[in-house]
Structure formats: C-alpha cells, structure tokens
C-alpha cells in the first residue's frame, strides 16, 4: 500500500522541480540578459506558438539558434563561465526552478496512487451502457471494476468490440478521455483507486486544492 502522506511530505519539502537547460548541440554560447532570481515563462499562446523567455543563443556554423525556457519558473543558476565559449552537447547552461502547480501536484500524486488502465489501440472509447448510466446518475466514484469485467467499448471504423478490464480491483477515480475523442495507444483511459484508499486520496486532493498556492 502506498503511503500518500509520505509522498505529500516529500512534495512539500521540495515543491519544485529543477529543470536543467542543456546545450542541445555543440556551439558557442552567448547568454541573454537573465540573472538568477528572475522569473521566466514557458511557451505561451493558445497553440503554444509563442516561445518562452529567451535564455541563451547557441551559435554553430554561424547559425545562431535561440534557446528558450521550456517552462515557467525562476532562474536558479546561469552558468556564465561558458559565455562566449564553445560547449559540447549536454552541457548545462541554465537551471530553472519550476514550482509545481496545483494541477501538477495532484497529477503527480494520482499517477503514483492510482492504477492507470491504458488504451490498447488508437480508437474511440465508450463505457458500456450500464456503466455509463451509473456514471451519469451517481457520479464517477460509484463504479467498481474488477479484473475481467467488460466495461468499455472500443469503437474504430464501424467496428465495436467490448474491452475487459485487467488490473487490481477498485473504484474508477478519474476518466481521462472524452466522449467521441480518439485516444492514442498507450494513453491512460481511467485511473483506478483501491476502495480502502479512496477517502485518503480524496482528502489529499481536497487539501492540495485548498492549500497549494502555485497556479498554472
């Protein structure tokens, strides 16, 4: 059994992830005007079409290439000793402290705590009518699944086949697909939570929802 409390404590102890921006290839580095402690942002725009804050330029064969910040965060360190130097691929250039957002923390904990049932092929997925009915009427947490239970319909090119659940017994905690969406192979379909842990998880999520400050 997973110790959620411990996990949460671990996240709380270091509520951020360190992202090391490395040189993607060889070249001469020239840093942009970023200093430790400055805030940077990741790609933005509705389609993430606007690149993140410029961190540095890497020039190879007179081809100057920008290195933008991959995610939102605060600059932890800039390895200015490389300024104007030739670096090899993989050389760390900038370290960014990315504070975990509320959503990321929840996701992190759920990924650890839940059993994820993944899509066996690219198709549209539907719950079988009884399950669907139950989900609609009494909410997500009302359906219990056990190994071998047929609970999904795989729909692809007018072919509809039932899909049986395989994995530990538990309650459907989260559904990762929408009606009529095509789900790629290997993507999680549902997250299943052992019945005895349900309250613990719900409790933790509620606490994160209310207490965690960092937002997306």
């Amino acid at each position: 059994m997973l110790n959620i409390k411990e996990l949460l404590d671990k996240v709380k102890a270091s509520p951020y992830r360190e992202i090391v921006v490395r040189a993607p290839h060889t070249g001469v580095v020239s840093f942009a005007a970023v200093k430790p402690g400055e805030k940077v942002h990741g790609p933005r725009g509705e389609f993430l079409e606007k690149p993140g804050t410029l961190l540095a330029h890497l020039t190879r064969e007179k081809n100057e290439k920008p290195i933008p910040a991959p995610e939102k965060g605060v600059i932890e360190a800039v390895h200015t000793q490389h300024e104007g130097q030739f670096v090899e691929a993989g050389e760390p250039l900038v370290t960014i402290k990315h504070y975990l957002t509320r959503k990321e923390v929840i996701e992190l904990i759920l990924q650890e705590a839940l059993y994820l049932f993944r899509a066996p092929e690219r198709a549209k997925y539907y719950f079988v009518p009884e399950v669907d009915q139950k989900l609609k009427v009494s909410g997500k947490r009302s359906v219990k699944v056990q190994d071998g239970m047929e609970f999904l319909i795989v729909s692809r090119m007018k072919r509809e086949t039932p899909l049986a659940y395989s994995g530990p017994e538990g309650i459907i905690y989260s559904v990762y697909f929408g009606r009529g969406d095509n789900v790629d192979e290997g993507e999680p379909l549902i997250g299943v939570c052992p019945e005895d842990q349900l309250t613990v998880i719900q409790d933790v999520v509620a606490r994160i929802q209310s207490e965690w400050e960092e937002e997306a």
Partner: protein, 755 residues
C-alpha cells in the same frame, strides 16, 4: 401622447448627432443640447406645459442645425453614420421601397448565414391605367442592428455561396438583381468553401451573369462588398463609404501595430481622409455611377421621403440598364435618360431581356469595368510604341483568327474524321484478319510463338524505381540561376526541426543545389522570384511587355511616394507585376508574375492593368496564361478604391480569357492573401501551390484583430487550402517546370494553338 413621442424623437436625434460627431465640441450641438435640456426641464416641472408651437420651433431648430452640421461632416463621421444602429438597413429598404417581398433562403436565425439576406421583391406600378408587377431578386447584407446572429453584416463564406445561388436563380428566371452592400467586410473563416474562394467564385459568375444587376452601396468594405458589388450600375448613398479597408485597419497597418494595441483616433481620422472613401470621391474617380442624396446626417428609418427617392432611383436605373441594350426602345430610352423627376415610375420597360440583348449587356458591363482606374497608374510608353503595340495586337488577332479559327478549325475537324475512320478501319481489319491469322497459326506451328528476348539491361531499366542517369532523379546543381544567399558560408536550421529532427543545412547546399528545399522534411525555404524567372520561365530568353506601366500614388497618400520610390529603386521594377511571353518546353505562354519584394506584391492600378493586358494578349495569341504569384499581401491600401476595383476588373479579364477558350493556370508561392486570392487568382479552375506556401483570405494578424479569435499557426498552410478544395495540387519547387509543362499539355482550354 403625441407630445411625448415628439420629445422622444428629439432625444433620439440628439443622441444620434452626438454619436456621429463622437462628442466633438461644436457650437450647434451645444446649442441644441441646451435648448432641449430647457424643454425637458419645463416638461418635467409641468407635464403638458410644453406648447405645440414651442415643439415645432425646436424641431425646426433641429432641422436647421442638422443641415448646417451636414456640411461639416468628415469622412470618419460618415463611417460612424454608416455604422450607427439608427442607420437604415436592408430590412427597412425591403419594407419601404418595394411593394411586396418574400424572404427566401431562410429567415432570421433560421438561415444558413443570417448576415446575407435574399428576397424576391416586387414593384407594383400603375402605368397608364394598367397595374404591372415587376419582380426583382434582392440580395444584400443585413446588419440587423445589435442582433448577434447577423454578425454585423460580415458575411461568412456560405452566405456568399447563398448569394451566388440566388443570382443564378435570378438568371434562370430572367429577372433583374438588386444588390445592397451593407458590409464592413467579409468574415475571414477559411472553412469550406473558403472566404477568398467563395468571393472569387461570386466575382467570376457576376462577371458574366446574364441579368441586369444594380448595386446600391451604403457601407462597402473590400472583399465583402465586391462579392455582390460587380454590377451594371452602381448607386451610392451620399453618406455611405466604399473603401479597400476600414479606417481602423488602415491605421493599424500604418502604425505597424502588433496585435492587441490600439491606434489613436487622430490617425484613424487621418486614414479615413486619405483613403478617399466618401461617395463624392468615388463618383469623381468613376467607381460609382450616381450618388443618391440622403437627408442631412444620413438616412434613418423614419425618412420616408428618402425611401421614395431610392425607389425612383432603383426603377430608373434598372430601366436605364435595360434600355441601353434593348433592341426596341424607341422614344422610351430617351425619356429614361432625360427624366430626373418622379416620372421614372410612369415609364414602363419590360425587364426581361432577349438572349442577344443579354449578350450585349454582359459585354457592356465588362467594357465598363475595363475602362476604370486609368488615372491611377502611369503609362510611360511613348505614343509611337503604343501605336505599334496596338497595330501588332490587331495583326496577332487577325493572324490567330486566320490560322487557328479559319484554317485550324477545318484541319481539326478533318483530323477528327480521320481519327474516327482510322479506328473503324482498325476494328474491321481486326475482325477480318484475325480468323485468317488463327488458321495460319494452326497450319504452320511454331510461327511467331517465341517470346522476344529481353536483355538484362532493359529489364533493369524497366523495373528500377528511379533512373538517375535519365534525369528522373535530381542530382547536382543544374540550376540556371542560384540564389546569392548560397554564397554565405554558414548553416541554417529547418523550422520543422522539432517535429522532423532535420539536421542543420549548409546554406550553399540548400540554396545552391537543393533549390531551398530541406532534403530531410521537404520544407521549402522562401526563394527569390528571380529563381523562378530563370529556372522555370527562362526569363532571359523571354520577351517582356508593358514594362513602362508604373505604380503611382493616385490619392496623394502621405509619405507613400517615398515608399514607392524606395521599392522601385530596391527592386528595379516599376510595379509589383512583371508580364512577359516565354516558352516552356517549346510551348509558348504568357506569364504574369507578382513579386513579393515590391510592396509585398500588393496589387494596385498598374498591376491590375498589366495583368489585364497580359490576359488580353494571351487571348489574341491563343496562348496559355500563367499567373505565378511569388507573394501577395493583398490590395494596395494606399491606392484606396483604385486598388480594390482591380478585383472585378481582373476577374472580368480572366473570365473573358477563359470564355474565349484559354488555359489559365495559377501557381502560388510563399504567402498569398486577401484581395487577389479572393478574385482573379482564386477563380482559376487550375490553381497550384508550391510546398510550404500560405494561402488565405486574411492573414492571422487580421483575423485575430477583427474577430478576436486566434487561429492555429498552420491555419493558412497550403495543405489546408488543398484539403478544403481551394487549390488543386501542391508542387515541389524543383519540379515546377516539369509540372507546368505537364499541365499545359493536359489541362483546359479549347483555343490553344498547340492542341
């Protein structure tokens, strides 16, 4: 109660005046406000205490002030008038001008596009002692003051498709079309059938629509207006505007704004003035035929006198169109021309026309547009050269007629007969000789049964996928012209590196040998237009014509002269369009090139004229006509309506060329947007794009600016245009010449000399 209503009316008029003048400080407005305030005060203190005479007096004062203010209107004030919710709309016109009408193609929200309103309307008239009903098809944008579903009169592509559908219906029923232009511009969605594509289709059909078309302009914003505005007669309301772009849009371009920022009202005001958008300007430039006077400060739904005037004008104008081509008009034609009074109603003309009259009318319409915008360009060709060109043109036309029509047709007919006879003979011979051969084979065994020996080399050649030694594969640098960029010693990254992991490219390789195509993912880097001129069209061997036609600044737009001079100096061209005659693998063709480096390849009066002349030359010489669009940003806004009128003009030229039996091919490269794509380029039945090019109606910036919707970064990519049916193929740059030749041999046109 009557008094209350009159006071309310005055209140409306006051707010209207204030809205129009955008709270500008003016003596008359202040006086009106003060007087009205006094009146209200008195009315509040003792209801009913306001005397009738007093009301009449203040109403007279309003009339007087409105007349006075009317003389001080600036172009931007007129824009505000047109956009005001109290402005008359198409529904008002249908109610008050026509005697009866039936909306068709949907009503209100239950409509494929509520911003385009279609109605069958009737004029009932008493002529002598007979009552006659004359049907017309009314097509126009409905702004529907504040009704969100009308989208402010911005028509979506399917709305324009609906308009086109009912134009065709009118053509079938042989009734005139009255179009009413009430639009700030078309809605820039690219979904099927595509904003640009649909406007292009509308223009193409209107160019040859065989019914009288009368257009009334109130608010005419570029593409949206053109979609229904190509008409035999164009009437403009005196307080309307007709422009290539909204003053706000022009100001945003002028100021070079990034999205989200706002321009100053002063700049907008200035742009409105510089664009020459008012009715008088358009009349002066010859883009509308007549201006209909509106009441002071613009027509509102209560101005019944104005509706009567509009009705008279519509009847008279339609009469004029009809009488100008009717075979039997006698005294009536003269009467129609001379009457300027209410008499128009008393002259009866049958509005259905005979086939020959319709032919004459279409011809007249096309000629009318051909003659427009002569003043907006500079023709530096000398008198002698012009005379020589004209003579040559006539000689070509005669030569083509003699060679391809008179003799060529007979030869073609003869060839067809021989072909048929040959096929018959083959069958007969087969039928007769086969049994004979079979018997012989039986009698003489082993005769002709051994299969022919095929060498290893032949098998290899036939079964291998590609044969580099035969030139099927591209190897090495064989280009007649390489980009000067290939001299640089550096590398460049492909923009698709994230998705396709392309390695960096060495510039001399990329621009020298690979013709700017990424060998890993096939991304096409933008290439200079000279590359195509030399490597595809053999420009050095070709004969350029109309070189002397020059872009000018017809509206005296501020600082535009210097910008034009700079572009001319930098590119060495006189306009964005190059027209020449060349031969592609032995097939002679006329080519028009729009080059992006000259003011973004924008189209103005000079470019339009060159394009039209090229199409005419191709017609006369029976040659295919190729438009290569290296890039176009749209219509040149600094030329105002002089630019936007090139949309119908060039479309008519193209239509005439295609109707005459020519082959019109369009090839897009880099970025092609707006007006040209929505007219003479978009109407081609054969449109192709070079890979990695962008095609669309409005650029991403304009879309987010006007609609507030952000579009995906790949929204305008050529493959999207292909999938929604705008273009008909995507070509690799290195194969353009081969594909062009293939198209010339296999596509369209019955009057090509080499067929």
């Amino acid at each position: 109660m009557d008094r209350e209503r009159r006071i309310q009316g005055l209140r409306d008029r006051l707010t209207y005046i204030r809205d129009i003048f955008a709270n500008r400080e003016d003596e008359s407005i202040r006086l009106l406000a003060a007087k009205f305030g006094e009146l209200l005060e008195r009315h509040r203190l003792m209801p009913g205490g306001v005397k009738r005479e007093e009301l009449s007096r203040i109403e007279d004062l309003f009339d007087f002030s409105e007349r006075k203010l009317d003389t001080t209107l600036t172009p931007m004030d007129r824009v505000r008038i047109v956009r005001h919710p109290q402005r008359i709309c198409l529904k008002d016109i249908l109610e008050n001008v026509y005697d009866n009408y039936t909306e068709i193609g949907g009503r209100g929200e239950y409509n494929i596009d509520p911003s385009m309103l279609i109605a069958r309307a009737v004029f009932s008239r008493r002529v002598g002692d007979k009552v006659t009903n004359q049907m017309v098809m009314v097509i126009g944008q409905e702004k529907g003051h504040g009704e969100a579903f009308r989208n402010g009169g911005s028509v979506k592509p399917w709305g324009n498709a609906k308009a086109l559908h009912y134009m065709k219906v009118a053509e079938t029923e042989n009734i005139p079309v009255h179009t009413f232009v009430f639009t700030p511009g078309a809605y820039p969605v690219e979904d099927w059938p595509g904003a640009a594509q649909q406007i292009a289709r509308n223009l193409y059909e209107l160019a040859g629509l065989r019914v009288p078309v009368v257009a009334v302009f109130s608010e005419g914003g570029s593409g949206g207006a053109e979609a229904i505005g190509l008409a035999d007669r164009r009437i403009m309301l005196s307080h309307g505007y007709y422009s290539v772009i909204s003053p706000e849009g022009a100001a945003a371009i002028e100021a070079g704004l990034r999205s989200g920022d706002r321009t100053t009202p002063e700049l907008i005001e200035k742009c409105a003035r510089q664009l020459h958008i008012t009715a008088e300007d358009n009349l002066e430039n010859g883009y509308v035929d007549r201006v209909l006077r509106e009441p002071p400060l613009g027509a509102r739904p209560s101005h019944y006198e104005f509706f009567r005037e509009l009705r008279r004008e519509l009847i008279q104008t339609t009469n004029e169109v009809v009488s100008s081509v009717k075979s039997m008009k006698l005294y009536r034609a003269m009467a129609v021309r001379t009457t300027k009074t209410d008499d128009a109603e008393s002259i009866y003309m049958r509005w259905t026309l005979s086939q020959s009259a319709l032919d004459r009318m279409v011809e007249q319409r096309q000629r009318k547009f051909r003659a427009m915008s002569r003043h907006a360009r500079l023709d530096g060709t000398g008198v002698i050269t012009r005379a020589v060109a004209a003579t040559k043109g006539t000689i070509w036309a005669t030569h083509s007629f003699l060679r391809y029509d008179l003799l060529g047709r007979q030869k073609k007919r003869l060839n067809a007969v021989f072909e048929d006879l040959g096929a018959e003979a083959h069958l007969v011979r087969h039928k007769v000789l086969m049994p004979l051969k079979k018997t012989l084979d039986k009698v003489l065994p082993g005769n002709g049964n051994t299969p022919p020996k095929v060498g290893e080399a032949v098998v290899d050649r036939l079964t291998r996928l590609s044969c580099p030694e035969d030139g099927a594969c591209l190897v090495g640098s064989e280009w007649a012209w390489t980009s000067p960029r290939s001299q640089e010693d550096r590398t460049i990254s492909c923009p698709n590196v994230r998705t396709h992991h392309c390695p960096d490219l060495w510039v001399p390789d990329l621009f020298g040998d690979f013709a700017g195509v990424c060998p890993s993912c096939g991304h096409h880097f933008p290439m200079e237009y000279r590359w195509y001129l030399q490597n595809v069209f053999d420009y050095s061997e070709s004969k350029e014509f109309n070189r002397q036609l020059e872009s000018i600044n017809p509206l005296g737009y501020e600082k535009f002269d210097t910008k034009l001079d700079k572009a001319k100096e930098r590119t060495g061209l006189k306009s964005a369009c190059i027209t020449f005659e060349t031969s592609i693998e032995e097939v002679d063709a006329v080519v028009a090139v729009f080059c992006a480096p000259f003011r973004g390849g924008s189209v103005g009066a000079a470019e339009g004229e060159k394009f039209i002349r090229a199409a005419e030359r191709a017609t006369r010489k029976r040659q295919p006509f190729i438009a290569y669009v290296h890039g176009t940003a749209g219509i040149r806004i600094q030329e105002g309506v002089n630019g936007v009128i090139q949309m119908p003009r060039c479309t008519i030229a193209v239509r005439r060329y295609i109707d005459a039996g020519g082959l019109y091919l369009v090839l897009y490269d880099t970025n092609s947007y707006a007006g040209p794509v929505a007219s003479f380029l978009g109407c081609s039945p054969y449109q192709f794009a070079v890979q990695s090019s962008n095609i669309g109606f409005a650029g991403p910036g304009v879309i987010s600016e006007t609609t507030g919707i952000a579009v995906p970064p790949n929204y305008h990519k050529a493959y999207h245009a292909l999938s929604r049916g705008h273009i008909h193929g995507i070509w690799d740059r290195r194969e353009v010449k081969k594909n062009l030749h293939q198209s010339l041999l296999t596509m369209g046109g019955r009057n090509l000399y080499y067929r």
